[in-house]
Amino acid sequence: MAPTDTISAPQLYLQSLSRWSAIEIAFWLATLLPFFLFPNYLSLASQIAITALFALSLDLILGYAGVVSLGHAAFFGIGAYSAGLFSKFVWGEPFSGLLVAALLAGLAGYATSFIICRFRHLTLIMLTLGLGLLAFEVANSAHWLTGGSDGLQGVRIRPLFGIFKFDLYGYTAYSYSLTALFLFFLGMRRLVNSPFGLALRGIRENLVRMPAIGAASRAHIRKAYTIAATVAGIAGALLTQTTESAALESISFQRSADVLVMLVLGGAGRLYGGLIGAIIFMIARDQFSGIAPQYWYFWIGILLIVVVMLLPNGILGGLSKILARWRRK
């Protein structure tokens, strides 16, 4: 037994797992580069940050708890429309809009989590797909409220803190989205290193063993799903606020599928996977659609096939393997 006033080796070890690495710090410093190097691309950078936050929320349930979802855009869309409608009918202050969007998306996540936590595998994929399609059609048919396929009109967002306007250059937008991404990333980083994060990994690694160690897996899954839905809703709200519009695309199956692709590309279950995946996906879309707008998914398809065949744990998984091999030498 170690004396109680010093830190024991196992404790130190667990602490070391969550220490910030130099690469991580470099990554976050690099997210500031667009301000200086690509000032014309700040709107794109803002959308990347928002998409990265969305992917991060999916990573919590898919990468950590092993709960696959093909309908995660439902929560993104709920957040997007909530923020839009709130600005239209209540007021355009952005932070309160975020809060409302988070609450509504979280509520939707909590409600559906009672179904989600009971199923696995293909059933779960079909369930989330079904729920996602449902959400889409609700938004589509409620034309009077959402504007249907025309999109939500009349979204007006007030300046941040009453000072910084959401302008065409995207300076405010990227600052806002990046700050939100960073803060929620910090929260998520804390979560995955917490006892709850360990429990989620336990669920992913072996759902059968969990009850045998006294764990109520379903309660854990419900909680994770609710948190993921909340964060997805915030991402959706950020998109509405920074673009001053909300469209059906935000709640579409395509968005659910895209975010899944990003996470798989980047590497699920490692926090940065969704971020890297979002960066690659969004930049590829921007570049390839410049070449041939209709066919750009062709290249994403190729990229996806190559990555899943050669790097089963995504790009980050592959990189960390190479790094580990290189360090051993």
Partner: protein, 255 residues
């Protein structure tokens, strides 16, 4: 040979289970006194693992009841039974392949301490839980490989981790389903040594095919045949029972 009256910690009453027309448990009445070391033996397909699944709640019986410390737990979920002190290990490794031994046992300790839902603090702040997990690993001689990811642990150590995970729930009763299954005979002694060194208060029921091990570690033997209790008694009695020899010992010596 009857000992003085001791507290019964786990018992079953007229437990029945069938899968369609296949009867896997028939009228099973079992009483485990506190601190007992019971062996459950029987030929393959006798329903030994099924009985563990029934007692731990992984299977629901068609009829009968299960009592844990006097409480009827028949309707409780497996994790609720674990929280009340009934733990098990699995014949086929049922571990967390991607977690290392320290993480896995810490998780089990956190679940027992009701802090596994806490998501706003680093797990490393829970010093006592981590120490407890580490102590369990050291006790099972896993201390030097506790940072190794489970899937890379040698098989024998994975078997020990099975037991460590169960111990982390602080059980009153521990059901061990062939704890040394698949382990070379010279190592299986180590695993049972580790089991035997557990506290005297802990009530044990283990399934084991190796009769040397059974006679060495069990204080009482239950013979299960065709889903029903064939006979039970102290090792010497069971060894002398011609009926047992016929149904079990005569057919197979070492599992």
């Amino acid at each position: 040979m009857e000992a003085e009256v001791t507290e019964i910690v786990l018992s079953t009453r007229r437990l029945d289970k069938n899968f369609g027309s296949l009867v896997v448990a028939r009228n099973i009445e079992l009483n485990l006194p506190k601190g007992a070391r019971y062996a459950l033996i029987g030929p393959n397909g006798a329903g030994k693992t099924t009985l563990i699944n029934l007692m731990t709640g992984m299977l629901k019986p068609n009829a009968g009841q299960i009592f844990l410390g006097g409480e009827d737990v028949t309707a409780l979920e497996p994790q609720e039974r674990v929280q009340r002190g009934l733990a098990r290990t699995f014949q086929i490794n049922t571990l967390f392949p991607g977690l290392n031994a320290l993480e896995a046992v810490t998780l089990a300790v956190c679940e027992r301490r009701n802090i596994a839902g806490e998501f706003w603090r680093n797990v490393a702040v829970h010093r006592e839980a981590i120490e407890e997990a580490h102590d369990i690993l050291v006790r099972l001689r896993l201390g030097d490989s506790c940072y190794q990811v489970t899937r890379e642990l040698p098989y024998g150590r994975q078997r020990l981790l099975e037991i460590a995970l169960a111990l982390a729930t602080k059980p009153k009763v521990l059901l061990l389903d062939e704890p040394a299954a698949g382990v070379p005979q010279e190592e299986s002694g180590d695993i049972f040594e580790a089991v035997a060194s557990l506290s005297d208060d802990l009530t044990l029921l283990f399934i084991e095919h190796d009769m040397h091990v059974v006679f060495r570690f069990a204080s009482h033997i239950i013979v299960l045949v065709g889903g029903a209790i064939f006979t039970e008694g102290p090792p010497a009695e069971i060894a002398a029972d011609p009926g047992v020899r016929e149904v079990y010992l005569g057919k197979r010596k070492h599992g």
